[in-house]
């Protein structure tokens, strides 16, 4: 089995964009996002349409920042958490570019970047946008309860991010680059509790990290940031313990987007953030900013819990997947 896929030519992230909701804007990373919206409906009349509008704004912001138009895109890769990925496909209806809809739960952003980088690196296409979104209310209604339903959340549950992040990829020779990736395996954790997705995703994360470090011969010390997508506090702590058991020293470089997004003291988010938009928005804002200001190498591990409301009701385990991408300022 091939563990690490190294792109023949490093693919440049020529531009990035992120749009988030109010709660995310009020979090510790608020200043890094390109746009935020106070109105949780994004000016629309349903949650699903709101998420679509958020996707649309993210893509147009991305292109505006790059001084480009829809016509300049050879491909758009997008995904979200809703049934049949309606948020991205309806939101990107106007862009008139070749479109691939993806589903990798919360790992969708990493999945899109991997596919896009591959196509760009081999020059089958020149330029593509990879995008992923999630919306608190549309997810809540699909996966949990109606919005107005009153109930207490368990400490291990996570708050779905209202946010969308996008990369514009092209081989231009300018940093930062996507240099390599590891495509995750589906790992069954045995966990059935949909309010404990951190625990469901931690084993997949560790599997992917082990495959990367065993094969690359690198150590965590070679990186400035190693970040998982949305394990939250619970999943992060479990992953740390599992990594320790596997004797993989993270040199204090390991963090998690689900923990970076909110202020645990001021915002009531239990174990932290989750959702496609979590890793996408943070990668497209905070991490890109870090790469411009001193950081050289970042590992982003998109983590996805592959459950559906039906699989949960049928009492199936929650399988998970974790894709790794290496974002670097150097070409190799």
């Amino acid at each position: 089995m091939k563990n690490i896929i190294k792109f023949p030519e490093p693919v440049s992230i020529i531009q990035s964009a992120s749009v988030v909701g109010k709660l995310e804007h009020e979090g510790p990373l608020g200043q890094y996002f390109d746009m935020y919206e106070d109105d949780i409906y994004f000016g629309k009349d349903s949650w699903e349409k709101a998420e679509s509008e958020m996707c649309r704004r993210t893509l147009s912001t991305l292109l505006a920042k790059a001084n480009m138009k829809y016509i300049d895109l050879d491909l758009v890769l997008a995904g979200d958490l809703l049934n049949q990925c309606i948020a991205s496909s309806f939101g990107l209806l106007d862009c008139n570019a070749p479109f691939l809809g993806l589903y990798g739960a919360c790992s969708t952003f990493a999945e899109g970047v991997i596919i896009g980088s591959n196509l760009c690196s081999t020059h089958q296409i020149d330029r593509c946008a990879a995008l992923a979104s999630s919306h608190f209310c549309s997810s809540e209604r699909q996966f949990r309860f109606p919005i107005e339903y009153g109930g207490q959340r368990t400490p291990t549950s996570q708050n779905t991010v209202t946010g969308c992040g996008a990369f514009l990829l092209e081989c231009t020779g300018y940093p930062p680059y996507i240099t390599e990736c590891v495509i995750g395996r589906i790992v069954d954790s045995g966990i059935k509790d949909q309010n404990n997705m951190g625990a469901a995703m931690a084993p997949a994360t560790v599997d992917t990290l082990m495959r990367y470090f065993n094969d690359s011969g690198k150590s965590a010390n070679d990186f400035d940031i190693i970040s998982t997508g949305d394990l939250g506090k619970e999943g992060y702590e479990i992953a740390c313990e599992l990594l320790y058991k596997n004797r993989l020293d993270m040199w204090g470089k390991y963090t998690d987007c689900g923990m970076l997004m909110y202020d645990y003291k001021k915002q009531d988010v239990n174990s932290g953030a989750s959702g496609c938009g979590c890793s996408a928005a943070i990668a497209a804002s905070y991490f890109i900013d870090k790469l411009k200001n001193g950081c050289k190498d970042i590992l982003l591990i998109g983590t996805g819990a592959l459950l559906s409301p039906v699989s949960v009701l049928q009492k199936q385990n929650i399988p998970a997947v974790a894709h790794l991408i290496h974002i670097s300022n150097s070409r190799n």
Binding site: E148, S189, D193
Partner: protein, 145 residues
């Protein structure tokens, strides 16, 4: 660590001791709602017979819980009081009102009408079914004695 061991490990981690604070809040919240019910009952009893006063009390609590749900206060209260708002008839009313409001965009037939009982429906299904079983048993019990 294999799947079974991991599952046990993760479940143990997530196990919680019920905090005294949660229980006290549930006690206070539930107590207050029941007292409001009693106050309403006493008020209605001035004007009407006991049977009707009881019904009006339930209907009023259902009305208020739904109204609070619509304004967006109920989920705030439920977050604080937990079981205190869930168990009184208010929890039942909230489940119906929340589902009705939430599914409005899918239309009044396939959305509101069909999905209104998505959470609370089971309460009626199993409550009524249990009562029928009891009724049959009670009927034969009466025949026997």
């Amino acid at each position: 660590m294999d799947i079974k061991e991991y599952k046990k490990y993760a479940e143990n981690r997530s196990k919680r001791t019920s905090s005294l604070k949660n229980c006290v809040l549930a006690f206070i919240g539930g107590g207050i709602i029941c007292v409001i019910g009693q106050v309403l009952f006493n008020l209605y009893s001035i004007f009407t017979i006991e049977e009707h006063a009881k019904l009006l009390t339930s209907a009023s609590l259902i009305f208020l819980a739904g109204l609070f749900t619509g304004i967006g206060w109920f989920d705030v209260l439920a977050k604080i009081f937990g079981g205190g708002t869930l168990v009184p008839i208010t929890g039942f009313a909230n489940a119906i009102a929340a589902a009705a409001i939430d599914n409005k965009k899918e239309g009044f037939i396939a959305g509101v009408g069909a999905k209104m009982f998505i959470i609370a429906g089971s309460v009626i299904v199993y409550g009524v079914s249990f009562s029928i079983l009891y009724g049959v048993a009670y009927y034969f019990y009466l025949l026997l004695i």
